[in-house]
């Protein structure tokens, strides 16, 4: 029998029994979707994990993140004391400042009381919605948690650029739709605002580019809206983030003590955290998550294989008599095997592509903040997903073929004998 004819018969039978084929494809697709979805989760988690791992090794526990902030100790000279404090901090023995941002932001609390805010109309800006403004994704970072801890939460360069261009850089807090609206309203009439970062409720900074401004999904963050102090000089609330390193010879605790003393001297309130400690927590929980995910993925692979193989075999059993007729007409078991192989490959490939597509879509949908986005366009991950798919396609095609080859024509012809 010519291979071309074998292919024609395979395709023919797919369409003749379109409901069986559709059922087989549907069953396989479901498991494929689950598999790919989980794989993507796994990879995006691995990304963060690898990063944390590298940072912990590089940093050796000497990096601190200090948040300076106050309302209670506020007095006329507070703003001026902070630069002084920073200068002295830099000259402290055993301590080096990292490339962190030193711009003091004024915090405008209680947005609803703000005159500007009251003018807000109902439209949520599409500009900062990733889905509606895919341009934004160019600025996506993979893992903002760790980036922010390192003190590169918002881009100092961007900050300066924005300032130079006459726009006002803003750091935002929670309740995004309001913030976005505010941003929009503030931007249009007189002043041009640009969100360059945001803050979560544990005072961690994030770059604006890592935010997905999803109007339906408001992340729980601090309700702050911050602009450089000069734009809201009347505000008596501010936050200031500083990062420093303890140098090679200095223990973190010893350095911390010195920094605390210095802060007291300047009458400044500090909240200082060893980055490594944050990392360690993240690291351990990540490791646990990864192990659990790996286990789950392996079981899903097994289930996927099983469901693809068995649905292909069951669909063969549905048409035993037809296979018997082929054999009675002289089609050999080898040729029949090829026919089934071809059919199974088509079916599984269809489910694979569907699963791939739906899995990725689902993953994207579920990631309000698209931290796994990088994972999707990574060639290595794509290759892993594709080769896993190929293995599944082959296995789920080879087993039914073997199954066919082991049957005697008589087995299929029962109905006629």
């Amino acid at each position: 029998m010519k291979n071309r004819d074998i292919a024609v018969f395979s395709i023919d039978s797919l369409f003749t029994r379109k409901w069986t084929s559709a059922a087989v494809i549907a069953i396989s697709t479901i498991t494929m979707v689950i598999l790919y979805y989980m794989l993507l989760m796994f990879f995006s988690e691995t990304f963060s994990y690898d990063r944390a791992n590298k940072l912990i090794k590089a940093d050796k526990g000497r990096l601190a993140n200090i948040t300076v902030g106050s309302t209670m100790l506020y007095d006329e000279t507070y703003y001026d004391r902070i630069p002084e404090f920073i200068d002295e901090l830099d000259s402290l023995e055993g301590i080096e400042l990292s490339g962190a941002h030193f711009t003091t932001f004024a915090v405008i609390n209680e947005l609803s009381q703000n005159e500007e805010y009251k003018k807000i109309n109902g439209n949520v800006s599409d500009k900062l919605n990733l889905k509606k403004n895919p341009e934004l994704s160019k600025f996506l970072v993979t893992d903002f948690d760790l980036l922010s801890i390192l003190g590169i939460s918002y881009d100092q360069k961007l900050y300066e650029e924005v300032l130079k261009s006459g726009r006002v850089p803003v750091l935002v807090g929670s309740a995004y739709k309001d913030i976005v609206k505010l941003h929009e309203t503030l931007t249009t009439p007189k002043t041009d605002f640009e969100v360059i970062g945001f803050l979560d409720n544990s005072d961690r900074w994030f770059g604006a580019e890592s935010i997905s401004f999803d109007s339906e999904n408001v992340m729980e963050l601090d309700c702050v809206f911050m602009v450089p102090r000069e734009y809201y000089p009347k505000s008596n609330d501010f936050l200031h983030s500083i990062f420093w390193y303890a140098d090679e010879k200095t223990e973190f605790e010893a350095a911390e003590e010195r920094v605390d003393k210095l802060a007291m001297k300047h009458n400044i309130v500090l909240n200082s955290v060893c980055v490594k400690n944050i990392f360690d927590e993240v690291y351990i929980s990540m490791k646990e998550t990864l192990t659990a995910m790996a286990g789950a993925i392996i079981s899903v692979i097994i289930v996927t294989l099983f469901s693809c193989i068995s649905s292909n075999i069951v669909s063969i059993l549905f048409r035993k008599s037809e296979l018997g007729i082929y054999q009675a007409c002289g089609v050999t078991e080898n040729e029949l095997g090829k026919m089934i192989l071809f059919e199974s490959i088509i079916k599984t490939t269809a489910s694979l592509l569907l699963g791939f597509y739906i899995g990725i879509k689902l993953f994207e949908e579920s990631q309000y903040i698209i931290k796994g986005h990088m994972a999707l366009i990574n060639l290595k991950i794509f290759a892993v997903m594709a080769s896993l798919g190929i293995v599944i396609i082959l296995a789920s095609a080879l087993f039914p073929m073997r199954y066919i080859k082991k049957r005697k024509p008589k087995d299929f012809l029962e109905e006629y004998l």
Binding site: I325, Q327, C329, G330, E333, K408, P409, K410
Partner: protein
């Protein structure tokens, strides 16, 4: 042409062994027209399956012309079936979703015959069995007798030495069945060896030789 030497066939199911054929010896000459008769469960179908290379034997030897079929490798055995044997079944065994023409064409596709030649052969075969005008119909739209004619046309088109039929008239009324036997007469006259399993003596009488199987043995 066919020679069975001490052929046995045992079935093993659930630890129970059934001897369907017990040391059968049988010679069939080329061009013979033969009926196999016997009560239900006596082993007629089993014999036909073995002759048709649909099943392997558990003992003895099967010669087809110079070839010892029972000694062939699985692949050669399957190819041998393709080249030399055609079947006609009680339930017609037609593909429901293929037309009469396409059904009759199947064995030729299996053999890798070219399209043009296939068309010639199939049309000629349909002509022989008298349903040339139904070539575009689906099996479910024609009568049982016509379906069986289509099945025989398929065997004719395949152009094999040996044509085997298992109760080909079993699902048809007497008159229609006799019409089918007319077709088998034609097939045999064209030089093919035809073996028909039946328990209808009238059908058997149309052939030139009748063998009886009882309890797995020829009597």
């Amino acid at each position: 042409m066919i020679k069975l030497v001490d052929v046995s066939k045992d079935y093993f199911t659930g630890g129970v062994t059934t001897s369907a054929l017990k040391k059968i010896n049988l010679t069939v000459e080329k061009g013979e027209y033969m009926a196999v008769m016997g009560p239900s469960g006596s082993g007629k179908s089993t014999l036909l399956n073995i002759l048709g290379c649909m099943d392997s034997l558990t003992g003895g030897q099967y010669f087809f012309d110079e070839t010892e079929v029972s000694a062939l490798s699985v692949n050669r055995f399957n190819k041998f079936r393709k080249e030399n044997i055609s079947f006609v079944f009680q339930n017609f065994a037609l593909m429901n979703h293929y037309t009469v023409f396409e059904n009759a064409e199947l064995p030729l596709i299996a053999k890798g015959v070219g399209k043009k030649q296939r068309k010639e052969k199939v049309l000629a075969a349909l002509e022989t069995v008298g349903i040339a005008d139904l070539e575009k119909k689906l099996p479910m739209n024609i009568s049982g007798g016509q379906q069986q004619r289509c099945a025989i046309a398929r065997a004719i088109a395949a152009d094999t030495e040996l044509v085997l039929a298992d109760e080909p008239t079993g699902a048809l009324d007497r008159a229609t069945g006799m019409g089918i036997m007319d077709v088998f007469d034609e097939v045999n006259k064209s030089g093919k060896t035809v073996i028909i399993v039946t328990h209808d003596i009238e059908v058997a009488k149309r052939t030139n030789r009748i063998i009886n199987i009882v309890d797995g043995q020829i009597v």
